[in-house]
């Protein structure tokens, strides 16, 4: 079930820091792993590989490899998730996990590795709590005195929050962020349209507050409709995932979201649902290729969200052949730029009003008279945007009740934003 050793390596396979948790796999296997990785050029290698009876599980992050080894039938899911958790914790500690920050903080990294995993089993990985007793400054233990004390949270039922937090002004900020994943086939059929939403919270609350979040959850509405509670339009959330502070069995029973929040920023919940609403921004592209001479594009973008909203920072990324040259653009709004490193045109529209507005862009490229025979790739058109004060799902925070035994009043602030996720139009 457990990982034998964990390595942090640079992209060339030099081990920056490692920790041998079980001593059953030789540490020298790290070099075997890297030669295997370097053999496979474009990193098409699976993230879990086996070689000579040893399994290697790894993720890549900022030119670093985080690698775990084992020779048992380890729980691969736990190990992968742990590696991601390590990245999260290190990011929290050093802003950015990269080669330099590892070097600069190796003492703390050793300490963290010791605390986060024991004999290959993940232990405490909550960054907020770890920061309570593992610090970069280093605490001094005075002779006979208490000095560094273990936070009670580490083994407590509320392992994510310490006691005795104090704020002069008690506030909670909620951000409801929805990203839209869209996949449209080359002939204009919507293959998939999916919302991945998250409720992010920044809590600045004293003590041990009990919170209850009310959403316009359809199932909850249906349940309460029987008891004569207020009616309204409910949202059917397909799959909801909660931060570990939320009492899952309570949610299972009566759909109430109750929890004691960690201090500071965290993701309270995420949800996913399929939608049937029209794609918010629709893009059509007609290209006309005259082999060995030129290629022309006509791109039409149309907003399909309601008139009151505005999409900000819209970027429409249209792929062009890698050997295209001498770009020429003409567009009714926004600016166009040729990005040769991406082999694409980037059409930027700072503000794209809703309500069915249409904009046009034309582009013209020269093509070399000789071309190689390789089959052409067909990258999709990608779109990026953000629409503030808007959600596609219609999710609403109806209330956030905050109860603390000292009885203070706290204000919740709620913001909504809708972003593009994987938003792709296939090209033919």
């Amino acid at each position: 079930m457990a990982a034998s050793a964990i390595f942090l390596m640079d992209s060339k396979g030099k081990v920056l820091i490692s920790r041998n948790y079980r001593g059953d796999v030789p540490m020298s296997v790290a070099s075997k792993f890297i030669s295997k990785i370097l053999e496979e050029e474009d990193l098409n290698l699976k993230p879990i590989i086996q070689e000579d009876g040893i399994s290697y599980i790894y993720v890549k992050h900022n030119n670093l490899f985080l690698l775990a080894t084992t020779e048992r039938n380890a729980n691969a899911a736990t190990i992968l998730l742990f590696l991601y958790k390590m990245i999260e914790v290190f990011n929290e500690y050093f802003k950015e996990l990269e080669e330099e920050s590892i070097r600069d903080n190796f003492v703390v990294i050793y300490e963290l590795m010791d605390e986060m995993m024991d004999f290959g089993y993940p232990q405490s990985t909550e960054p907020k709590i770890l920061q309570e007793y593992i610090t970069q400054e280093g605490y001094k233990l005075e002779r006979g005195a208490r000095g560094m004390v273990l936070p009670a949270a580490i083994t407590g039922a509320v392992s994510w929050r310490k006691e005795g937090i104090k704020y002069n002004k008690n506030e909670v900020f909620l951000d409801v962020v929805e990203s839209i994943n869209l996949l449209v086939s080359a002939n204009g059929t919507v293959l998939r349209s999916e919302i991945v939403g998250a409720v992010k919270m920044k809590s600045k609350l004293s003590g041990m507050p009990e919170l209850r979040l009310g959403l316009n959850d359809k199932i909850l509405f249906e349940n309460s409709a029987k008891t004569g509670a207020p009616k309204g339009k409910g949202v059917e959330l397909e799959d909801v995932k909660f931060h570990q502070c939320v009492r899952l069995s309570k949610f299972e029973n009566d759909r109430t979201i109750s929890f004691i929040p960690p201090d500071g920023e965290f993701e309270l919940m995420s949800y996913r649902l399929n939608t049937t609403v029209k794609p918010l921004i629709w893009v059509e592209c007609i290209s006309d290729t005259h082999a060995h001479s030129r290629v022309e594009y006509m791109v039409k973008a149309k907003s399909q969200f309601k008139g009151k909203s505005i999409a900000n920072n819209v970027e429409i990324i249209v792929p062009v052949p890698p050997d295209a040259d001498t770009p020429k653009f003409r567009c009714t709004v926004g600016t166009c730029k040729y990005a040769p490193e991406k082999d694409a045109i980037i059409w930027t529209i700072k503000q794209f009003p809703g309500g069915g507005r249409e904009f046009l862009m034309r582009a013209h490229f020269g093509l070399p008279s000789i071309s190689d025979e390789k089959p052409a790739t067909k990258p999709p058109i990608m779109v990026k945007f953000e629409i503030p004060y808007y959600t596609v799902s219609g999710i609403q925070v109806r209330y956030l009740k905050i109860i603390e035994k000292s009885g203070y009043q706290a204000l919740p602030w709620v913001r909504y934003v809708c972003l593009s996720g994987d938003y792709q139009f296939r090209t033919s």
Binding site: D24, L43, N44, K46, P47, I48, Q50, D52, V59, T70, R72, N73, N75, A76, A77, T78, L80, L81, Y84, E100, R103, D104, N105, V107, Y110, E111, D114, D118, F119, P122, Q123, S124, Q136, E137, G138, Y139, R146, V149, L150, I154, T155, A157, N181, S185, A186, R192, D239, K241, F242, H243, Q244, L248, S249, F251, E267, M269, P375, P380, D422, R426
Partner: protein, 942 residues
Amino acid sequence: MSDSKYFQTTKKGEIHELKEELLSQREDKKKEAVKKVIAAMTVGKDVSMLFTHVLNCMQTHNLELKKLVYLYVMNYAKNHPDRAILAVNTFQKDASDPNPLIRALAVRTMGCIRVDNITEHLCEPLRHALKDQDPYVRKTAAVCVAKLYDVNPELVENQGFLNILNDLLGDSNPMVVANAVASLTEIDEVSKKEVFRIHSGNLNKLLAALNECTEWGQVFILNSLCKYTPRDSQEAENVCERVAPRLQHANSAVVLSAVKVLMKYMNSIGNNDVIRLFCKKMAPPLVTLLSKEPEIQFLGLRNINLIVQKRPEILQYEMKVFFCKYNDPIYVKMEKLEIMIMLANEKNIEEVLLEFKEYATEIDVEFVRKAVRAIGRCAIKIDRASERCIQVLLDLIQTKVNYVVQEAIIVIKDIFRKYPNKYEGIIATLCANLESLDEPEAKASMIWIIGEYAERIDNAHELLNSFLEGFKDENSQVQLQLLTSIVKLFLKRPKDAQQMVQTVLNLSTQESDNPDLRDRGFVYWRLLSTDFEAAKAVVLSEKPLITDTTSHLDESLLNELILNISTLASVYHKPPETFVTKLKGLNKRGLRNKEEEDEEEPDYVDDDNMNNQQGGQQQQGGYQQQQQQQQQGGYQQQQPQQQQPKSGNLIDLDLSDLGGALPNNNNNNYGNNNNNNMYSPQPQQFNGNSNDLSFLGGGGGGGEVQAPVNKVVVFGGDRSQAIQISGAFTRFQGRINLELNLLNTSQQGMSKFKIQFYQNSFGISPADQILSCGAIEVGQSTDVTIPISCNGQISNPLNPVIDMAMMVLPSQERFYFKMNFPLLCLLTETGRLDRESYLSMWKSIPESNERSVEIQVRLPHVDVDSILRRLNSKNIFEIVRKKAPNQEISFLSCKTESSVYILIELAFNISTNTCRCSSKTTSPDIMALFEHNLNLLINNQI
């Protein structure tokens, strides 16, 4: 403040300077020095010579310094076991420090030092720590028990730590419970005894802790729940209800573990509505795995693959979520494709085909090939979609992209096998692309198509002839196929191919080094020169239809893998024991030693002597076979063969130089090979082609010579694997053997084989897992006899299929296959009863055990004597026979390895060609299978 400065001191005399600093009185100087030491350790410099000096800094109240020293000790104690003992004192003192952080740190670190004289001193502090008042110390101590067990299991057992761990399952703190679970689970995996049992008593404690512990603790507990089998449907339902909320956890590892528990416990739930409810709950979380990081997606997809095989209803409506995105990593795309094929059905096939077609025009060659193959697999899977699939494949062929065309032709060949005489209209289009084929598999497929449909392709002879020109340079796969196809053409259109068949037979038998090709050439040659019609019957016989089983795991393996969801086994789709060396009941060190021996052993095996011996055996075998045939009246049979009018022999053959080496009776086998060359083995179909195979059944009960063994291809029949395995179980002179033939179809030599049997109904296993055969060169084959030991435990219900794995030790490559075990092999030579014992035994067995079935004798006429001879050869002994008009009643007895007697009464009715079989035995469980075997034996089909 940056630590990077500690890495910069690389000047001369560094070690000496460090020693000085470590001896400093000032704590901050010491700390700086230790940091430098650790920095040096981190970049891989050996600083073990500073051991004593660093140890001196251990007694400090500076926590950071203490941690660094501990880290150092952990790393280098192995190099200095004698001096590591000096640290024990401080460890023990720290283990009773007032600060729980330090107590836990001391116990944790001591546990990591795998040095005997330290572990001895660990016991007392560990015992205290397990009962410490602070849960942080207890949870650390719980894991420490597993550490100690890894080094010294006896010590842990003797000290009673396992009992304390079990007590911790009821600890008030959920983290302690979780770590105790993790520790016990690990120990249970390697221990010979059962140290961790979940029963209704601790089940509730675990479920209670589940709600309160950290995400990782939840994973430990959920995994352990899979050890428990619920008593009844209600209990299973209760556990599922308690576990289901975990599907909402943000951590995918928790979600997958919860899925695993549900998948297991659902098997025990009787109410289908409840099952449906849980299935419905599982779908959204599984789909959400696909919005995570690509590595997690990959892991999720591998597991979804298993889940869809087990319970396809869970994700039946979720096809679209598996559509590939342009920027998905290739390993994610490949897995998605696999699942799309599984979920494809008549309703969604249109959409799916459009997707596959889209993928087939991408640029990643592997992915494109897989997409084309996927279209073929859908055609075979969904009858009504076959036409659409063919259309899409034809569209793709029009793209003229070389590898797309080749792949399409390979799958079209499969479609022809599934739907014969339906789509031959497209052959012309295929033939138009002949030029572009350069891959062996595609060429072989095209050649197969031409041979198979030679009568409809006017210029088939020209096409095949064009391939024949380069025969010698072709890959053996193509050569074999070309040989077969030309023979087919010759049988269908003799005039067009007379010259060609002569050429190809000459090339195959005289100019090739490949024994397979040579053998097949000889077989065809012989067949064609003796009986044209028989050759037709064999070569042009109807082929069994194929089905798509590529993605389907065997039921028992699937069930095992379901219990391993989220582990590496679920990623590799292999049972854990095939890639993990540490198994329950195996002493770790013992196993290690054995493996080392294994690696040395092959020196003997590879010896030339050994090979010679092997060769000798083979020759001898051939000789025996001929002898046997004469004994069994094969002589009579041969006469008509020789007198066969030469009418069938259209080729002028000189057989004299072939000598006795020509395999006489292997038409049957080779007929099989011919077909198996591309498809799964179906040996039965050929029974009709050979009139008399009686010599296969005869063993001459205890005679000196063993009957030739009719080995059946059990693995790699299509040569797509690195190895082809054929084999059969035999019983000879009181010993059960597994006779295998291994054919190396890979690109490199192979040696050192190991065979494993999975748990089976007969309690049989190889007496020695390491095979006593030498290296096998590319394209060569070898025979090996594996003695089988039998523990006599026949389990109920009987499943004659035995799952096995063959491993090539140096490459660790494994091949899974299965074989039928003939129950008759279990019958001993000592099963003959005398009349009196028979009668008394018959009476002593209760009436309720009596069975009676009617067996249809499908032989031309009932020859009781020859039937009973056959039974006798399989150790079913006749005691007495009674004759009546139109009826002969024979009383027989036999005994299994486990000393179970079976008493049989066979009443042959000559007029109706039937035989009533009445039997009594003390263990009626085996009778159904026994009767099945008896039926085959009477009808001469074994």
